[in-house]
Symmetry: C2
Subunit: 327 residues, 2 copies
């Protein structure tokens, strides 16, 4: 089976930031599940954590956490996807029936997420070990998109201000020609940009600063704008040179990610890739869903396999008992 193709850095960029609540922690999460690799990002807006795992690393950890498990990655990876995705796309706890996820902040500043589910009638454990993400990744996934969003919104504010001034000119002309309102309450105040902005800031700033914010302030409108901005190539970095001279930190390739595009900002190729990917996985989960479905067939076979330890890596499906996944 082919690895889900594309450039993970770009693919991940196209993902929305999903609000997640685990163990009482409000987080935003981005997840990418490939064929037998994953990349997850978590943030509480104070720090950003990530974990990237390739097939071999997933195999090792699965083995450590599930001593009796004897199966190749592909045999349980789709199960992991299936269980994790609802946890990281919603409220988290008991999302998938028996699946249970908990989060611990470790002394070293890392985050550990423990997952318990059931696979083939036996408990299946997984742990995500997330470490602070490289700064370049944070710039790519948050700083540049947010700056572009602010830029776009600022322009929109200016443009709408201009429209209001034109409306006022039209209204003034009607009035000067003797028009009156049939309903007094329809009358509006003349729009004055400076006055408006000062008034708005005086009122909105304390609100934004004090109110309960869902999704850490990353609400639906901003999500939509984020999606538009990242689909368009996250441009504010396009002209930058300083960090482009050499592969950035975020681009250290995982074993299974042969085509890690250095940065969205680098050129048209990655933009095209981004655009293509955006079309393919518009809601930000289609990729994983596709991988999941594609995997399901394979796993429905593999799940019932007890591989001989010697031939484990090759994993030619043979029909055996379901519990055969575990020794």
């Amino acid at each position: 089976m082919m690895e889900v193709s594309g450039a993970p850095a770009v693919v991940l960029l196209q993902r929305p930031w999903l609000p997640v609540s685990i163990s009482g922690c409000q987080l935003l999460a981005k997840i990418w599940f490939g064929d037998s690799a994953y990349h997850i990002l978590l943030t509480d807006m104070i720090c950003v954590w990530e974990e990237r795992m390739d097939s071999a690393a997933i195999q090792r950890r699965a083995q450590e956490l599930n001593r009796r498990l004897r199966a190749p990655v592909k045999a349980f990876f789709s199960h992991l996807c299936e269980v994790v995705q609802p946890c990281l796309s919603g409220s988290g706890e008991r999302a998938d029936g028996e699946a249970l996820i908990s989060l611990t902040r470790q002394d070293d500043g890392n985050i550990s997420m423990k997952l318990k589910s059931e696979l083939a009638g036996l408990p299946f454990y997984w742990e995500f070990h997330c470490t602070p993400a490289p700064v370049t990744l944070v710039c790519l996934q948050l700083v540049r998109p947010l700056l572009a969003m602010s830029h776009l919104l600022q322009r929109q504010v200016e443009q709408l201000g201009g429209l209001l001034v034109r409306k006022d000119a039209e209204i003034q002309d009607y009035r000067e020609n003797g028009a009156t309102l049939s309903r007094e309450r329809l009358q509006t105040d003349v729009f004055e940009e400076e006055t408006y902005r000062e008034d708005f800031m005086a009122k909105a700033l304390p609100l934004v600063c004090s109110e309960q914010q869902d999704a850490l302030g990353f609400d639906a409108d901003l999500q939509q704008l984020y999606a538009s901005v990242v689909a368009h190539g996250n441009a504010p970095a396009r002209k930058r040179k300083l960090s482009e001279e050499r592969p950035a930190e975020e681009d250290r390739p995982a074993a299974e990610e042969p085509d890690l595009t250095p940065s969205l900002g680098v050129g048209s190729v990655s933009s095209e890739t981004a655009e293509r990917d955006r079309k393919q996985s518009h809601n930000g989960q289609t990729d994983a869903a596709r991988a999941k479905m594609a995997d399901r067939a394979a796993v429905q076979q593999s799940l019932s396999v007890t591989s001989d330890p010697a031939e484990r890596p090759s994993s030619k499906p043979k029909k055996k008992k379901v519990v055969g996944l575990f020794r």
Copy 2:
């Protein structure tokens, strides 16, 4: 002399991001110069770098770079401030007469900025060694403010849209009562939010993505908004718990920074500090300027001192030749 008081993390937050161009690199810089300590941040929006130096570290590096220099930190630190600030607040090269600054990206991903100036008639060398900043710092200085800015602007866009709808209702009422325009060109189209936004995005997105952007897209309006947001306590993180349980990475104290506030989001104390500091140093440079001026008197004395190596740390000013700064 007292160290400039306050919490550097908060103080630095209040600083504006100054556009800087050094050695052909477009950067944004934030600088804080204390009494004999500094903290600088640089970003090209692909990475963020920083350097924090305390008095002892500055003394050591000054010694390494200027073998003949024999003077306590306070004797040359105000000179450094004076030379660096114009470099990092403007075009950089040859900003302060003889001062010359250059920037090199190193193989390890760090940034080195070399400065050559003249002190007491002799060349004075300085180097900034900037390393990638901790993620928590990037969240504090960029991600959270930018998210709050987006949030505020988004609300403004909604509110202005609402105002336009009301203007249209007023206009419609005039018209329905038979009013006509004296000048046809004053007539405006009815505002429809959805249509407007789609149209705006289709036009503005490619522009924002392709145009030359000054200040890496962080233009004057956004700077102003940034200032408002950070002055208000950078609130979107206020309710977060996950990263607040323990001191964050950005808060590892430098030797001379006894009161490093953990995070702006933590509570009212840091907010008050922020507010106080905002008032004190409104344009973001006053602190350093104050420190500079306060130092100047001391340095005018110290500059002419050849301290006996044995008594160097105490630095009681004695009147001697200016070149005494150097051996």
